[in-house]
């Protein structure tokens, strides 16, 4: 009996809350739920594989966690496709709202939630209410990418001890976690705590030149004061230090003979050193008051406070690019390997010299010794260091108060109303992390030196401090805060009538934002220091949906929504690193969402078939990159962006025998820009603003397969669990370069003929087939359950499947006369072909995770 109770608790703990709208609990077969403990354990490990969850600065790789269990498709894709950075409906993570005890915790500045911030505390994050875009819920106006609400109350956590030990050949090698919960005591107290540590060093990490060093803690205490009131305090954090890997061109991978070639590390004194190290710590506090006003009325109020510290280092320079994958170091820089007609290099000797150089690992990685030597040589003549490691800091101070009132008017009618009040201060600045043997450099915009003398005020990053000499730890380049304050109100009503389950939900809100600069930039001396004007936006939305239960397990779902979304502060400023100006033509995003679904559920069969169509108008985007055509760094604001998302999704589960079921998943989708976009861009060397058209019509959402299919078999018998799944991915696009498609740049590239622009096709990655397996067994040791689970991923060791990447923002030509010269722009073709050399990430080959957990 006790074993069964434990199993039940275990199953309850690991199974996401079921939020079925039309499935009876009986329709969810008990075997799947009970047996799900082993799978879900594995699934959670996989879902939170940190390499895939927003831990790369080069691309937006955050997946969306839509785990709604009412739909076979949404309940399975997180587990099945996360190794491919699959994005639900190809949506940016910012369209997925994440809550904790009812308070929204997405990054207030860019809208994204980074799951890795709660990595390593898996035992605390299993109580989660996931809903897909057209499911009603008790905590929010549901987002177009779905929403999740984590329950962090101590009484919701399992009682007892649990120890987890894991070994993997992924970005961490070892993991240990311990958790303990008291359950709710008779005097109304409940406590729960967990601590976890994940580790890999340079010798053990799967990708060369990376390491992982992460501690996680979570503590929650709850006092049930009486039948009506309960207070809960939860604190958590995950101080993490990790080295990141970079994407590479196919040429680099070929030369390095590895799909996982990582250019971001090198040797220093014979030891491996990473140049890109992320340090992050987001200590969070959540205070929740549950007030049961009456049996049918409840008020949940939470106050959330977070002090997030994030820094990411990178090698910077004022001289020759020291990165080993700099384009001039490649063989194809010396010889046109693309067979084009034109004035290209055909230097065979230089080609092979570069090839030979690349065979030497010390050449294809950063040579820290040389960088140190150069700086120490410069010390001798009292000159600025020319190589250094900088740290880019993005810190946040978030305060958010949320309250939700829920009234179960009748058994079949519910009404909720809620509010969120948020304040966020995002602090953004750069520091000198390591001068690599140098003694100092000046806080000077070196891009401007030449046009201005080195000591001219225009070239100073901070005129208030003059020609400022900087040492390690000093801030340089930029230093500013972005503030945003939001107020949101929402309400939702759901009702069951005969064969209909319907809901309607609405929201409205206001946002204000401003920038406060702490450096007086030399190019914008009157417009960079101090506070900007405040911008105000009003937004809102309406969404409704119904499930029509046709009987005998058949159901049809329909949903439609329209909302206005205020622009995020992260895209609202033209050039926040330099001045206080807002991006021009900023406006609310207009979002239309529709969905039509069919479901069939019988004892042995469950099917979900869903079609959706989303349209986003007037979206805002922002980018910064080096623009060859102006020989300058540029800040680029895209406003009035119009995108369209549509597709079909299939989820099918067939119970073949009592012990064996088959799960099939599939999606074919489209996610693309439907119009060319107006761009405002600013040159960092002139400070002048320019307008032009970006020919991005037809460009697709990147970094996710737009077509994916999966066929899996799950076998459970006694305490064994076996899973075998084949996954196929296709239509994987890489992040397109806006720069390459600017009207003027297309002209410079000779891609304008007779009034027509020949826009380069968007770069694509390879899809392919991947075979995954999982085996688990539960034992009893000293009368307590011990679960052992082994995940084997990519069994066929397919290493050439692209998970994401981006086109380089460089041009296939150099501009020999700029427009400033007053003469026509003339160009000279480059032998190195940037258009053909997108940088890509590839899926890891065979990898495994062995997981043991013991509860007692």
């Amino acid at each position: 009996m006790k074993k069964k109770q434990l199993l039940l608790v275990f199953a309850f703990m690991v199974t996401p809350q079921i939020h079925a709208q039309f499935y009876d609990a009986a329709e969810v077969d008990s075997l799947s739920v009970a047996g799900g403990n082993l799978q879900t354990d594995g699934a959670d490990e996989f879902t939170f594989t940190e390499s895939q969850l927003g831990e790369n600065d080069d691309v937006t790789s955050d997946v969306i966690h839509v785990g709604s269990s009412s739909n076979i498709y949404t309940s399975q894709i997180g587990w099945a496709w996360s190794s491919m950075w699959f994005k639900f409906r190809a949506l940016d993570n910012a369209y997925n709202d994440v809550y904790m005890n009812g308070v929204q915790v997405n990054n207030p500045e860019n809208g994204r939630f980074t799951y890795s911030t709660i990595g390593g505390m898996n035992d605390a994050t299993r109580n989660r209410d996931d809903v897909s875009p057209f499911e009603s819920n008790s905590y929010s106006f549901n987002s177009m990418g779905g929403s999740s609400n984590y329950d962090f109350r101590a009484s919701s956590m399992p009682a007892g001890h649990k120890v987890t030990l894991s070994g993997a050949n992924r970005n961490y090698t070892l993991r240990g976690m311990y958790s303990y919960g008291t359950g709710l005591s008779k005097d109304g107290w409940a406590f729960f705590g967990t601590v976890g540590y994940r580790w890999a060093n340079m010798r053990t990490a799967a990708i060369k030149g990376t390491f992982y060093n992460s501690l996680a803690y979570f503590l929650s205490a709850q006092k049930v004061i009486n039948d009506q009131h309960s207070l809960n305090l939860a604190v958590w954090g995950s101080p993490t230090e990790r080295a990141t890997a970079g994407a590479s061109t196919d040429e680099a991978n070929w030369l390095a003979n590895s799909y996982q070639y990582n250019p971001y590390w090198g040797y220093q004194g014979g030891k491996k050193r990473a140049s890109r190290v992320v340090n992050t710590f987001e200590p969070s506090v959540l205070l929740t008051w549950d007030y049961k006003i009456k049996d049918e009325m409840k008020l949940t109020t939470s106050a959330f406070f977070k002090c997030a510290k994030y820094s990411s280092t990178r090698l910077n320079y004022n001289g020759t690019n020291p990165h080993p994958d700099y384009w001039k170091r490649f063989p194809s820089y010396n010889y046109d390997v693309w067979g084009r007609e034109g004035d290209y290099n055909y230097d065979n000797a230089a080609f092979w010299l570069a090839y030979d150089n690349w065979q030497d690992e010390s050449y294809r990685q950063i040579n820290f010794d040389e960088l140190y030597f150069a700086n120490t040589q410069l010390n001798k003549i009292g000159a600025d260091a020319i190589y250094w490691i900088e740290a880019r800091h993005n810190n946040h101070l978030v305060t958010n108060l949320a309250s939700t009132y829920e009234w179960n008017i009748k058994k079949d009618a519910k009404w909720r109303v809620g509010m969120q009040i948020l304040s966020n201060r995002g602090s953004h600045y750069k520091t000198i992390d390591d001068l690599l043997g140098g003694e100092f450099f000046h806080n000077t915009n070196t891009y401007l030196v030449g046009d201005y003398t080195e000591t001219a005020s225009e070239a100073m990053y901070d005129v208030n401090h003059g020609y400022q000499k900087l040492i390690e730890g000093d801030r340089y380049g930029y230093d500013y805060d972005l503030w945003n304050q939001d107020v949101k109100l929402w309400t939702g009503f759901s009702i069951d009538r005969d064969i209909l389950h319907s809901f309607v939900t609405a929201k409205m809100g206001g946002r204000r934002m401003w920038r406060e600069g702490f450096m007086r930039n030399g190019l914008f001396q009157d417009n960079s220091y101090g506070k900007s004007g405040k911008a105000h936006f009003l937004d809102g939305g309406l969404k409704m949906g119904s499930t029509i239960n046709l009987g005998k397990g058949h159901a049809v779902t329909v949903g439609i929504g329209y909302e206005l979304r205020a622009p995020n502060a992260s895209v609202a400023f033209m050039c926040p690193e330099m001045n206080n100006d807002y991006a021009q033509d900023l406006d609310n995003e207009k979002v239309l969402t529709t969905e039509l679904g069919y479901a069939l559920a019988t004892k042995w069969f469950r099917l979900n078939l869903t079609g959706y169509y989303y349209k986003i108008n007037d979206a805002n985007e922002w980018q910064q990159f080096y623009n060859d055509d102006i020989n300058s760094f540029s800040y680029n604001s895209l406003t009035g962006v119009n995108r369209e998302y549509y597709g079909v999704e299939l989820g099918l589960r067939v119970q073949l025998t009592t012990n064996l079921n088959l799960v099939a998943l599939g999606t074919y989708s489209e996610a693309k820009y439907i119009d060319d976009t107006q761009v405002n861009w600013m040159s960092s060397t002139t400070g002048e603003l320019h307008q032009e058209l970006c020919h991005n019509k037809g460009m697709r959402q990147s970094g996710t397969p737009l077509a994916a299919a999966s066929l899996g078999l799950n076998y459970r018998i006694k305490r064994w669990y076996l899973n075998l799944a084949g996954n196929y991915y296709d239509r994987i696009y890489l992040s397109y370069s806006t720069n390459m498609r600017y009207e003027k740049n297309l002209q410079n590239a000779g891609r304008y003929h007779a009034g027509e622009y020949d826009v380069p096709a968007q770069a694509k990655g390879n899809g392919g087939f991947m075979l995954d397996a999982s085996i688990g067994r539960q034992f009893y040791v000293a009368h307590h359950p011990l679960s052992v689970n082994l995940q084997l991923c990519n069994l066929t060791n397919r290493r050439n499947i692209t998970t994401g990447g981006y086109e380089q923002s460089r041009s296939n030509y150099s501009v020999t006369e700029t427009e400033n010269s007053g003469t026509e722009v003339t160009t000279k073709p480059r032998t190195y072909n940037f258009e053909k050399n997108a940088k890509k990430f590839y899926a890891q080959g065979f990898n495994f995770l062995l997981n043991l957990n013991y509860r007692f």
């Binding site: 311990y178 705590g193 601590v195 540590y197 060093n201 340079m202 390491f211 060093n213 501690l215 803690y217 101080p239 230090e241 080295a243 220093q268 004194g269 050193r273 990473a274 190290v277 280092t313 001289g319 020759t320 230089a350 010299l353 150089n357 040579n367 820290f368 010794d369 040389e370 140190y372 030597f373 150069a374 700086n375 120490t376 040589q377 410069l378 001798k380 003549i381 000159a383 020319i386 390591d434 043997g437 030196v449 030449g450 046009d451 201005y452 003398t453 080195e454 006369e817 700029t818 400033n820 010269s821 007053g822 003469t823």
Partner: protein
């Protein structure tokens, strides 16, 4: 809590403090000095090749001990290093950037000349490699095989006496061998202010030659065929040209009878100090 505290203690930083690497990770540290040759002797030995703008591979085991007097630190000398000894100066063409960081002015070099090429370009003596069938810059990897950086405290066999980066007054009548590759001083000279009156405008107001502006120098000790040659990429390209005569320094080079003065950094333009 104890566990938590213990975990904090256990977790140590992996990207900690790094020591400055030892050694000289540039050039060929196994080179030992052989038969010495001075720059004057070298230019004399190959005088015909240089004066005829031809080139020749150095086949003798000759070793040059010299000191850097000009480099790309100010982004004006492009992929060129200027070196001198007590007897003269010469330009070395290297297909690599940031030479000024690895070999700042004053850096002593031991150069194994065997297998390198020497010749003339507009009658200016230059050491380099073959490029497109002519004398050009040598690949950086080749250069690194042939050079050893000499530091204070090295063994006596390697160390050589002080070679001062000295400055001589420019004399338009001197020969290439006497003056080219040396730091020269011009005083009382007037710089042509054609077009936009900055050192090297790239706004189309003056014509460019290989991305450089040649501004005529007159008066003072400039002689009749002397220009200040500055790249439009030079860090000091935007320095305003005074209307009055000035003093300036630079590496003297010659191109078909015209002296071209290459300022190295802004401090060579003394009126900006």
């Amino acid at each position: 809590m104890a566990l938590l505290a213990g975990a904090f203690v256990f977790v140590s930083c992996q990207d900690g403090d790094w020591d400055v690497p030892e050694g000289i990770p540039y050039g060929n540290n196994s080179l030992e000095a052989g038969t010495p040759v001075t720059i004057a002797e070298l230019q004399s030995k190959y005088a015909n090749v240089i004066s005829s703008d031809n080139y020749k591979q150095i086949t003798d085991d000759l070793w040059l001990r010299c000191v850097v007097n000009g480099n790309d630190y100010g982004d004006n000398l492009y992929k060129q290093l200027s070196v001198q000894d007590e007897t003269g100066g010469i330009i070395i063409g290297i297909n690599g950037s940031d030479q000024g960081a690895f070999m700042p002015v004053g850096q002593k070099l031991l150069i194994s000349l065997k297998d390198l090429y020497i010749g003339g370009y507009g009658n200016q003596a230059q050491i380099g490699g073959l490029y497109n069938g002519g004398l050009g810059r040598m690949e950086i990897s080749e250069w690194k095989k042939h050079v050893r950086l000499i530091m204070d405290g090295m063994s006596e066999a390697l160390a050589f006496g002080t070679i001062k980066v000295d400055t001589i007054d420019f004399d338009a009548n001197k020969t290439m061998a006497q003056q080219a590759g040396r730091v020269v001083r011009l005083s009382g000279v007037t710089i042509s202010r054609d077009g936009t009156p900055i050192i090297a405008p790239d706004d189309g107001s003056v014509s460019l030659v290989s991305n450089c502006v040649n501004r005529t120098l007159s008066g003072g000790n400039a002689g009749s065929k002397c220009v200040l040659r500055t790249s439009t990429y030079a860090a000091f390209k935007g320095v305003a040209i005074p209307t009055t005569p000035v003093e300036l320094y630079g590496i003297a080079t010659i191109y078909r009878g015209t002296w071209q003065i290459l300022a190295r950094t802004q401090s060579d333009l003394t009126w900006t100090k």
